[in-house]
Subunit: 427 residues, 2 copies
């Protein structure tokens, strides 16, 4: 392709950072290509609701090309990127083709990571994509079905033990919701087991859950989890996971369902930049979010390692949106021949939901927990959902779940072979 | 297991026949075990809406054990059945265990069939389960994405040719909706292709579409399809399907997307009964729907070959529900020491939807087509959906789609490797 007069902006990743950058360039005289391997933008803060059968995929996801249909300076491509080639200012695609750019925003995010134990991936799925969410949903629902079929008491017990590894926001959301499912949603639906006897264990290696919050709020979160029926085990590191057990030091917990929420690793595309990365694979960026030595390449969102005032900017949606919008400003400044501005992070507070009517909120001087924090969380999340229809549907679903304790998306899809590749007890 | 005093009724299949039989036995002094390989009842008449991204899975499916939670004489098991063993009056399960019965209802339905060309299955998926619907949804949406990426005009053309094989209700629904997606839903969302240039071809070997309707209504259906943008080819039999073409006699149509709606084969469990089957594998049943020589075994729904007044009872939801309810009556009669009644089919009419505001209805002396038939179809289908929440959500979704031409469930899930196993053009 020949170099065109209109600057070519390529954006990799249609998450919060990439999509906000794209929108912020809507009225700029540039041609934007947004590349994503999936066809949709995902509202990740509610992904745990899809995994726990409270919401359906379209409630929290929308096709990127539909969101951007009216922005005529954007072409959306559903394609896999293999590498960035900074020397030639091009992306190398998985199909071998090249996509040249004048400016690049790399916002390909992060996946969950197993800290050198990739062999745990098949037993303990993590939660980053919609496909992950459907796999976890299937695992949870099928575990109760297997318990109902199992006649051996010890095996039945193992099907009713659920272990969530990692006491961060995702682990807490999964454990709290899972306890609600066992104690309320499925109550009276089984004839041979009592779903309320299921044990939900939340394992955290550090001293407390939700450690990004002040200590007093962490304690409130722990108390709310216990009230919902979750056994919280802090200071407990996972030593091994196999098809039938999780081992913590000397102790073995028999379980067929382990969910992983303990760590993230940045997208491997960061590596192809050839610049220093932090331990999680994030790119150390300059003050304007550009890559050292490559002023035309920017990184934003979970792939960027950014600190402000000595504190790391957290991997949350508001930070990603701010970075995305900032990169748009930086590109506009460069195109105008001006220096790019420095990125400033505005921290509007920290919210975590735990379960039905249970949450904590750290809003600077104001700390909330319990029902008020939950309402605050609900309003904030529904407000930020993309699409008018989605907001209505999610509210209807929530109201319905609230009154009936039901979770409408309890539909098991896919085959056993596909999702329990290591399962050995069936013959 | 020892024989209990309470009669053991085993029902295989939680479709319309099995579920209606189960409910009709709610107040009988029996113990019922309902076995299904999936965890949900599926409202199959709207399955094409999931395949074409208009509805989500939970809109048309509900967990069987949730539907039956208050019926205390039912145990629901999510399990695969390998065979019926009439001699020992037991089911053999896929895991090797046995499930004894005093009365059995076999209602395991039908799958799509390729008339001896099973090798077409990977190129031309059919539509019977939710997993089928998601595979088709992915195929349709990804075809447009590939066309947008393709630079070679002939290959791009092939990605935009859609072939639906079979002019029965499912084929007509798929073709009509697909034309709407290409011409309206995706309009203005692509930058390199014009989705409106997509060709949708409906191939039918017989002389007309919807051949179970009177000829005049078939003609109206053809006209409505053509108005929506579907090319209808009757009298055209498929000779071959490969990754890049469909062959009709001498003619080859280059296409990457073929959907199969041309035939059904009954569940293979029918074979294990050891009695005569019809060509499609359906069981010839007695007048009370029992199996010849096995008065304790009944067959209902799509697996039963039933004729009344010289006409085959069609494989539609109302017929399956009537058969299920009849088997419940027959079992109650036997338990009371009375002869089982004969099954009578009440034909309330025949409805088929074609697309936006397009449908036909054969209500005996009253024939409808177009917008009136479509409203009639809509009301009838929403009315029969299970669950109050589902009816509301489906109506909201339909109203939304109607005004905006949007289909909210345009979310591509799963990986390419999984769903395009034979695709060769990517490297």
């Amino acid at each position: 392709m020949e170099k065109s007069a209109v600057p070519r902006i390529v954006i990799v990743g249609g998450g919060f950072a990439g999509l906000w950058a794209t929108r912020a360039l809507a009225s700029s005289p540039v041609q934007i290509t947004l590349v994503d391997r999936s066809n949709h933008h995902l509202f990740q803060p509610l992904l745990y609701q899809v995994a726990t059968a409270g919401l359906s995929a379209p409630d929290i996801a929308a096709p990127l090309r539909h969101i951007l249909r009216s922005q005529r300076n954007v072409t959306v491509l559903m394609q896999d990127v293999a590498a960035v080639e900074p020397a030639t200012k091009a992306l190398r695609m998985a199909d071998g083709s090249a996509l040249p750019f004048d400016y690049l925003l790399l916002a390909s995010g992060a996946r969950h990571a197993y800290f050198g134990h990739d062999e745990w991936a098949s037993q303990a799925p993590g939660l980053k994509t919609l496909d992950d969410a459907f796999l976890i949903r299937r695992k949870l629902l099928v575990a109760f079905e297997r318990a109902e079929l199992e006649t051996d008491p010890a095996r039945r017990r193992a099907w009713l033990n659920f272990v969530v590894v990692g006491g961060g926001p995702t682990g807490v959301e999964l454990a709290g919701t899972l306890a609600e499912i066992a104690r309320h949603t499925l109550k009276k639906e089984f004839r041979r087991i009592d779903s309320g006897e299921a044990r939900v264990m939340l394992i955290e290696a550090g001293p407390r859950v939700l450690s990004s919050f002040p200590e007093a709020l962490s304690e409130k979160a722990r108390a709310q989890l216990q009230r919902l029926g979750v056994e919280v085990r802090t200071g407990a590191a996972v030593a091994a996971i196999d098809d039938e057990n999780v081992r913590l030091g000397e102790e073995s917990i028999p379980t067929r369902t382990v969910l992983w929420a303990a760590g993230v690793a940045a997208s491997p595309l960061g590596k192809s930049l050839g610049v220093p990365l932090d331990r999680a694979g994030r790119v150390y960026v300059e003050g304007d979010l550009s890559v050292p030595g490559h002023p035309q390449i920017f990184v934003a969102g979970d792939l960027a390692a950014v600190s402000r005032d000595g504190k790391a900017v957290p991997g949350v949606a508001p930070a990603a949106k701010q970075m995305g919008a900032h990169v748009a400003r930086s590109i506009r400044a460069r195109l105008a021949g001006k220096p790019a501005p420095l990125f400033r992070y505005r921290d509007y507070g920290n919210l975590a939901t735990i379960g039905r009517m249970a949450a904590i909120a750290d809003l600077g001087r104001l700390h909330l927990s319990g029902i008020f924090a939950w309402w605050f969380w609900l309003v904030a999340h529904v407000f930020f959902l993309i699409g008018f229809r989605n907001r209505i549907i999610v509210l209807v679903n929530w109201a319905w779940s609230y009154w009936t304790y039901q979770r409408h998306a309890r539909i098991v899809l896919g085959s056993d072979a596909q999702n329990h590749p290591t399962e050995r007890s069936r013959n």
